[in-house]
């Protein structure tokens, strides 16, 4: 298909957006043929002397000298014979007429612009002045129609012309057009910037309906970067622009969950499947150990303007940019080292007002179960335990005892028993409703939206409802001044989990509970010698409340002035207010409570305010082939927060909840806390871009940050960066290689920071408590040292180097980006473990170094592009390797240890190993007989955790150093929690009005501990067991088994509990059908779109827990893929209906 591209040419000294605007206007007016001649501009006299010049250059010169904008289709002007002209102070109109007529061309004019067209009649000058729609010499075949995008929005400003080039038309605001054609059949061509051009064969005069597809990788795509935006082709840093189209239908509350697998270099995982739970995002790896590793989130230019991403309604988001390399992020200084996610919300678009209503309904469910024992299986297991234990009341059972002596003489009669996971989970409904409106004219535009989400959790009585509202207004007061206001309000109401499926709470987590306990029984006989407990069912049924309400609102006002051409000054002020209201109640009727113990009530009030002033100055200048622009900025920010909590215990009425907390029987039972936090920071930033002929680019940025939370001796920080880019495809030697549209090489280097020091962290502090020791029957306040002063504390520094190539092939149908990076982080803020003989267990210091290196590859293709069928794909693959290079003078830092008194390191840092390394003992099966145990006393091949474990059937481990002693020297590296590669594959199909989007993501090569196996698969006797424990060692039944016998639990984490965390997930499947309603409803309604989407539909995995894609420790920042009983991610299926007006 030959593509005809309509290009516009413009004088260098005009800025583009203005021109676009003029161009569109021109066409609109052309359409209705109201040709108002601006006499003065066409009558002005210019001098033009050229010899043997191309027509293009001549027109350019006329344009330059007259100030006229001249539009033309390439094929009319390019590759025409050269011309010589010589005019001395001649009228522009005359010059144009004379020159163009030599090429059999004509022009149409309006105000300050002309459009070059093919000559349609012998005498253009005369006809221009008398032109009418019904030109007599054209055959009067009029074709009417309407142009829309694939969502049914009308497209205005589309040029429509006959392939004979004889006739031209432009669509109006409603997308309607009328074109006169000379004959039928004929072919008309539709063109619009940003859309694929379309050829349509016309055989009848019937009204046409044309849908234009957006170009996928358009050269002029604009990408939002820190404190500005650039055209994608001028981008020097590593920035990924996420396509909102593909994710907007995902049934998730916050946008981060929808980004998973779509951004190369961003490892995104759900922290838990709880509704509203934020994702844990790592951009190019984890670098910090105690400070946060989450990227900085910037919404409409505002830092700290949301509490988490669930504050933003996905439908309000216009674009998401992910900034990855130092060149892009150094402008965010001490906040930039974890990458930056910039979210821009929608603005109204010029054109007809639009109203959009969308409702979605669906359900979610627990996608899978664990293979645990049921009641009869567990009874058999308990019988085995009775055999092996010498403790009362089973002490007398031996191998010869009849079954009737065992605690469960008839295990099979117990059947399935209670499935505790079933008892607390449910099929949870989901619905969301979204109403938005937008519109605008030349002077202003608006976007408003209102949405309501209600996501019930798959665990009973948990769920989140959310209301968000947004108003975005821009208004052009004067040609040189624009003002705007953005307002966002979010109200979230969350019923938090009351009970857990897993976790480390082995005494009441659903997977751990004895299946022989009846659902409504509240006695756990495995807990010590049996104890009344609050069974999950009791907690759900008795009226326990854990509610959290969060309100946030952001106000941003800005004014942008352009005092002289190309200089823009923007001043923006943001006030963000966030408050959190916590309500908790535990009624007095809970089974484990004493008869008169009373109820527990808790209230918390937290408020946070953020006031930020951002002032930037931007200047752009083009001269000859040089382009330069620079940005300067000053930012001041003040964040303050207040917290107040009150807890009372012993309330004698369950009816009043937390509403009369003074009705406490004993004032000793109050616990109140309050505190205040302030942080002030100031930043100066600068960026300069230069490029020569769109070929050689250089970018330099710098930011200086000062902040109150930095220690006294380290108040100011400086973060520089630089980038170079060479667009090879712009070189003349590449011009002839037609199949390469773009080939660019980029490199960057720079320093960014992580100011993970919370306020006051560098100051010494005494803590106080009133729940200390009793004096005279009450607990007077006690003060004790809680923190050491460290006046040298500093921010973490990351130096990052990036090398990348952007390749675009075959008419931009294949777009490839390849990136490689190295990053080194030093001065890590570490809560270093200290010997507790100091009275402190940790101290905070700048110790340690980490490094990350990786490669990223992404490819987007448009495989098939037919009017009725389209297929496009995108695929990404990333690899990152993160290492601990230094942890000071410590041998190791234990980040997560095993259960029990003796907490051996399961996750931790050792120099020279991956940051997310797994550690543990090497499981070596069980002792089979006493002989083996005795022989081992000499060979020292194996070792058991304690003296009592040297028994047949007990677990043994490899004695690494053959010293016969079980200790941390026998622990070995068991693998890396980070995947070797991860990424996703998106496929989009469209057949006529039916669309299908399928997204698959994957992660290969990581390791994960099944932490729950410490109880569920360790021969434990206090919890239920994995069914595989039925094959545990038994002297008669299973003497060769390598699974530890019943009751032999040793609380040791070993490689037996380490699993491959690889998975392949059908993450999102969305089907949509678009009905065009404009005809049926006579333009009252535009379209009706029906959709069906599924999230987390299926996962292939090896892990024997619920899902390897969990990170329950995301709040501690470093650990990834740690499954401490995270709420499993639900499988969700939703249907949606969307109406556009």
């Amino acid at each position: 298909m030959k593509k005809i591209r309509l290009r516009y040419k413009f004088p260098n000294n005009l800025i583009e957006p203005k021109l676009l605007f003029v161009m569109k206007l021109t066409w609109i007016l052309l359409l209705v043929s109201v040709l108002q001649v601006n006499a003065s501009i066409f009558a002005q006299k210019i001098t033009l002397q050229r010899s043997d010049a191309t027509l293009e250059s001549v027109l350019k010169e006329i344009q330059h000298k007259s100030g006229l904008s001249i539009f033309y289709a390439d094929e009319l002007i390019l590759n025409r014979p050269k011309i010589s002209v010589n005019y001395e102070k001649e009228e522009v109109e005359k010059i144009l007429t004379e020159i163009l007529s030599k090429y059999d061309l004509d022009f149409k004019k309006h105000k300050n612009s002309v459009v070059v067209v093919k000559k349609t009649k012998p005498s253009p000058i005369v006809s221009l002045k008398e032109s009418r729609e019904d030109e007599p010499f054209i055959q009067e075949i009029i074709i009417r129609g309407k142009v829309k995008d694939k969502d049914g929005n009308p497209l205005s400003g589309v040029t429509i012309r006959e392939n004979t080039l004889k006739s031209l038309a432009v669509s109006d605001n409603e997308g309607n057009f009328t074109i006169k054609v000379s004959q039928i059949p004929t072919t008309v061509i539709f063109n619009m910037l940003g859309y694929e051009s379309l050829e349509k064969r016309i055989t009848t005069t019937r009204e046409l309906e044309v849908v234009l597809a957006e170009t996928v990788a358009e050269v002029d795509e604009v990408v939002v970067i820190g404190y500005g935006e650039v055209k994608k082709k001028d981008l020097t840093g590593s920035v990924v622009n996420v396509k909102m189209d593909e994710i907007k239908d995902a049934p998730v509350v916050s946008v981060d969950l929808a980004l998973q697998g779509r951004v190369p270099g961003a490892d995104i995982m759900a922290s838990t499947g709880e509704p509203g739970a934020p994702a844990s995002i790592r951009i190019r790896g984890t670098r910090s150990i105690t400070a946060t590793n989450e990227p900085l989130i910037v919404v409409d230019g505002v830092i700290d303007g949301i509490s988490n991403l669930s504050d933003i309604n996905i439908a309000d988001i216009e674009s998401v940019s992910v900034l990855k390399d130092a060149s892009a992020t150094a402008i965010y200084g001490s906040r930039g080292s974890n990458g930056v996610i910039i979210i821009t919300t929608k603005q109204g678009k010029r054109g007809k007002d639009q109203i959009n209503l969308k409702s979605t309904f669906g359900v979610s469910q627990l996608p899978r179960k664990l293979d645990l024992m049921d009641a009869s299986q567990y009874a058999q297991y308990r019988n085995d335990y009775a055999l092996f234990t010498s403790a009362d009341p089973y002490g007398s059972i031996n191998l010869n005892s009849p079954l009737s002596d065992y605690p469960y003489p008839d295990p099979l009669s117990l059947g399935k028993g209670t499935d505790w996971v079933d008892e607390i989970t449910r099929l949870a409904p989901y619905h969301t409703h979204n109403l938005s409106g937008s519109g605008g004219n030349e002077r202003g535009n608006y976007f408003v939206s209102l949405s309501y989400d209600n996501t019930e959790g798959i665990i009973e009585r948990s769920g989140l409802s959310r209301i968000t509202g947004r108003v975005n207004i821009d208004y052009k007061l004067f040609p040189w001044m624009k003002v705007g206001w953005k307002y966002n309000i979010t109200k979230r109401d969350e019923d938090q989990n009351l009970v857990t499926i897993g976790g480390t709470n082995w005494w009441n987590g659903a997977i751990y509970l004895n299946p022989m306990i009846k659902v409504y029984d509240n006695f756990n006989d495995l807990w010590y010698s049996g104890q009344t407990f609050n069974s999950p069912r009791a907690i759900l049924d008795m009226g326990v409340i854990r509610n959290l309400k969060r309100d946030g609102s952001t106000n941003t006002g800005y004014v942008e002035i352009e005092p002289v051409r190309n200089l823009k000054i923007n001043s923006q002020l943001t006030y963000y207010n966030y408050s959190q209201h916590t309500f908790r109640f535990e009624p007095s009727t809970l089974p484990a409570k004493a008869p008169n113990e009373g109820a527990l009530a808790y209230r918390g009030e937290y408020s946070e305010n953020n006031l930020m002033s951002q002032n930037t100055l931007n200047y752009t200048k083009n001269f000859d082939k040089h382009h330069i622009d620079f940005t300067l900025g000053f930012i001041g920010q003040k964040v303050w927060s207040d917290n107040l909590t009150l807890q009372g215990d012993g309330y004698q009425s369950d009816a009043i909840l937390w509403n009369n907390m003074n009705a406490i029987p004993d004032k000793e039972n109050y616990t109140a806390t309050s505190n205040n936090n302030n942080k002030t920071s100031m930043s100066f930033l600068a960026r300069a871009n230069y490029h020569f002929k769109n070929r050689y680019y250089i970018t330099v940025t710098g930011r200086r940050d000062g902040a109150s939370n930095f220690a006294a001796n380290n108040k100011w920080a400086f973060f520089p960066s630089g980038a170079l880019k060479w667009t090879v495809s712009e070189e003349s030697f590449m011009k002839n290689i037609k199949w390469i549209d773009e080939l660019a090489l980029r490199t960057s280097a720079g320093r960014t920071g992580n100011d993970g020091i919370s306020s006051y962290r560098s100051l010494a502090a005494l803590a106080s408590t009133t729940s200390g020791y009793l004096f005279n029957g009450s607990q007077p306040v006690a003060f004790y040292p809680s923190r050491l002063a460290s006046d040298k504390l500093s921010w973490e520094k990351t130096d990052m180097y990036n090398l990348a190539a952007d390749i675009s092939l075959f008419n931009r149908r294949v777009n490839i980006t390849v990136e490689g990076y190295l990053s080194y982080t030093k001065d890590l803020l570490l809560d270093v473990q200290t010997p507790t003989q100091t009275g402190f267990s940790t101290r905070f210091a700048n110790v340690g170094k980490t490094s990350n290196r990786g490669v990223e590859f992404s490819i987007e293709t448009r495989n098939i592009e037919k009017p009725n069928f389209e297929w496009s794909s995108s695929f990404s693959i990333s690899h990152n390797r993160q290492m601990v290079d230094d942890i000071g003078h410590y041998d190791f830092v234990n980040v997560y240890g095993s259960y029990g008194n003796n907490s051996y390191m399961m996750y931790g840092y050792i120099k020279g190993y991956p940051l997310n390394a797994l550690w543990g003992f090497q499981y070596a099966g069980t002792w089979k007989n006493q002989d083996e145990i005795d022989r081992n006393k000499i060979t020292k091949s194996y070792v058991s955790a304690s003296a009592s474990q040297y028994q047949p059937g007990s677990a043994r481990y490899i004695d690494v150093n053959h010293d016969g002693v079980f200790n941390e020297n026998d622990q070995v590296y068991l693998g890396n929690a980070d995947p070797f590669i991860y990424g996703g594959l998106q496929n989009n199909f469209r057949y006529k009005n039916l669309t299908l989007n399928v997204f698959v993501n994957y992660s290969l090569g990581g390791k994960i501990y099944n932490i729950a196996e410490q109880w569920l698969g360790n021969g434990g006797y206090i919890t239920n067991q994995y069914a595989y424990q039925l094959n545990a060692w038994h002297p008669i039944r299973n003497p060769n088994s390598d699974l530890p016998r019943a009751g032999s639990t040793d609380n040791i984490a070993s490689d037996r509990m380490v699993h491959d965390a690889s998975y392949l997930r059908i993450k999102t499947v969305a089907v949509g059908y678009n009905f065009d309603l404009s005809k049926v409803t006579k333009n009252k309604l535009k379209s009706l779109q029906l959709g069906l989407a599924g999230e987390n539909l299926y996962v292939w995995k090896k892990y024997n827990g619920f899902d390897p894609d969990v990170s329950s420790q995301s709040s501690t920042s470093t650990l990834r893929r740690v499954d401490i009983g995270a709420y499993p991610k639900p499988r969700t299926v939703v249907g949606s209906i969307q109406i556009r007006y």
Binding site: P595, A765, S768
Partner: protein, 515 residues
């Protein structure tokens, strides 16, 4: 400048809209603030916490610092500490899931040793901090002296606890005020417990006289006073075999407490709090609707509850029907057959041991009784034991004095003190036969009088007979299998050894191959 401009323009823009106007007003305030912000300081002034430099200026503030030094006691005095001090001795055993009961411990598996180490040193650090702050505080000397002395007594207690439990341990009195001190303390290895005790003895001799010489039960809040000071001094001196020092300290106690006759046996049950005889009690309380600061020791000191208020087949209404009982601490046969026989006429028997209750015999007392009502927690809910735990009491001091005189070869005085305790217990007066038998009788008397009072293992270790006597007399096979001479002291947790960069060690455990 730009900000002011924006404000005016925005106001114009939204003039017609009331709601917007409200918002604009807020924005206006914000804009003004923003202008101020530019001149804002980035210095940091804490608003919600204090630091040692600006606090500890008044007596009340110092007392609030002293209050903190007692906090670790709550965590130490639990059922596990009771097992560790009483359940692995000649007196008692416990077939408990808590592996401290069978001494299945090693540096790599320190069990309760980790808690004792951490809490002990937390206490030391708190004491060092407040002692330093008291010294610097701008208050009159006469106010300062008793405050300082209380801190010093508490510090001496924690070092007594640490050296009795772990043997040689790092000793320092410096306030860990900054990272530099912390690094230095981190590198301390084991230090001579004898020298540590000598230092503490001298310090106590200097400061205890500054405290009011009254019984602890007369001290407001039952804080550590002079009585506790002399008692710790005596304990430390006995460990160092400085019998004369110990004797003098006990004399001071005798001055305060006087005759034992005024302290009836019937006061001894733990349900009686802060009895006059007490030298120190760790305070606990349980109120169903009020304050709950509890331990769980009683859960291993009561007959097994079968159902409701039936305990091992006997209805005990006082114990209630909601108590959780765990595997119980039971006397070894040796104890009930040799040390404290059922038919010995010892008046302590019905309090200390229980074969029956209200005349009804328990089901499982064929070989050994349960621990008696002295230890029970009445109407206990689950394992929440609100009884105070006795650290020291006067009878202990008198038996110490008997030992001091015995070691000083003053038989008359020794026997006089021994008989004070025997007299109250209704036992016949002891008469001197030879020194060894006297020593043995004092040791047995301590076993009887102080049964279940967190003392026995320390005594046995101090006498150097712990391993042999426990091995000989324990009825618990698992303990017998596991126990080694190195278990007389808990190992320093391996993690601590590593974190100290191997400045610490566990040579005794390495010797026995129990790393």
């Amino acid at each position: 400048m730009g900000l002011i401009l924006s404000l005016e323009l925005l106001s114009d823009l939204f003039k017609s809209d009331i709601n917007s106007l409200e918002i604009m007003k807020r924005l206006f305030k914000g804009l003004l603030l923003s202008l101020l912000l530019v001149g804002c300081s980035i210095e940091e002034e804490p608003t919600s916490f204090v630091n040692p430099e600006n606090y500890y200026q008044t007596e009340a503030q110092i007392i609030s610092g002293l209050n903190a030094t007692y906090i670790p006691l709550k965590t130490i005095y639990t059922y596990t500490y009771l097992i560790a001090t009483e359940g692995v001795t000649d007196l008692m055993y416990i077939a408990s899931g808590t592996l401290d009961a069978q001494l299945d411990i090693s540096p790599a598996q320190p069990r309760f040793g980790q808690t004792m180490w951490t809490q002990g040193y937390r206490g030391v650090m708190y004491c060092n901090s407040i002692i330093e702050a008291t010294r610097k505080a701008p208050i009159p000397e006469e106010v300062k002296k008793p405050l300082l002395a209380e801190g010093i007594v508490m510090r001496a207690y924690y070092y007594w606890f640490l050296t009795s439990t772990f043997g040689d341990v790092p000793f320092y009195t410096e306030d860990v005020a900054n990272a530099e001190v912390l690094d230095r303390i981190s590198k301390l290895g084991r230090m001579s417990a004898v020298e540590t005790r000598n230092y503490l003895i001298d310090e106590l001799l200097e400061h205890v006289p500054n405290l009011p010489q009254i019984r602890t039960s007369d001290v407001d809040g039952n804080r550590c006073g002079a009585a506790m000071g002399w008692m710790i001094l005596g304990k430390l001196a006995q460990w160092n075999k400085r019998w004369d020092v110990a004797r003098d300290a006990m004399k001071e106690l005798e001055k305060i407490y006087g005759s034992l006759d005024q302290y009836p046996l019937s006061d001894l049950p733990l349900k009686n709090k802060n009895i006059k005889e007490s030298i120190f009690e760790v305070q606990f309380t349980y109120s169903e609707t009020g304050l709950q600061v509890v331990t769980n020791s009683a859960a291993i000191c009561m007959p097994t509850r079968n159902r409701d208020n039936v305990y091992d087949g006997v209805v005990i209404p006082e114990l209630g029907n909601s108590a959780t009982t765990w595997s119980a601490l039971r006397p070894n046969s040796y104890f009930v057959q040799t040390v404290m026989r059922r038919n010995s006429g010892d008046l302590r028997l019905p309090l200390f041991l229980a074969w029956e209750y209200n005349g009804v015999t328990f089901n499982s007392v064929g070989t050994r009784p349960w621990l008696g009502p002295k230890f029970w927690s009445y109407n206990m809910v689950n394992s929440a034991d609100g009884n105070n735990q006795r650290v020291f009491r006067y009878a202990d001091a008198l038996l110490m004095q008997a030992e001091n005189y015995m070691e000083l070869r003053n038989a008359d005085e020794s026997i006089r003190y021994l008989n004070m305790v025997r007299k109250r217990a209704g036992l016949p007066m002891y008469e001197f036969r030879n020194w060894d038998l006297l020593r043995e009788e004092i040791q047995k008397e301590r076993g009887r009088e102080l049964l279940g009072e967190y003392q026995r293992k320390y005594d046995l270790v101090r006498w150097g007979i712990w391993y042999q006597i426990t091995y000989d007399y324990t009825d618990y096979a698992s303990l017998k299998n596991n126990m080694l001479p190195c278990h007389e002291y808990y190992p320093i947790p391996d993690m601590e050894v590593v974190k100290s960069n191997y400045a610490l060690d566990n040579k005794a455990y390495e010797f026995y191959g129990r790393k």
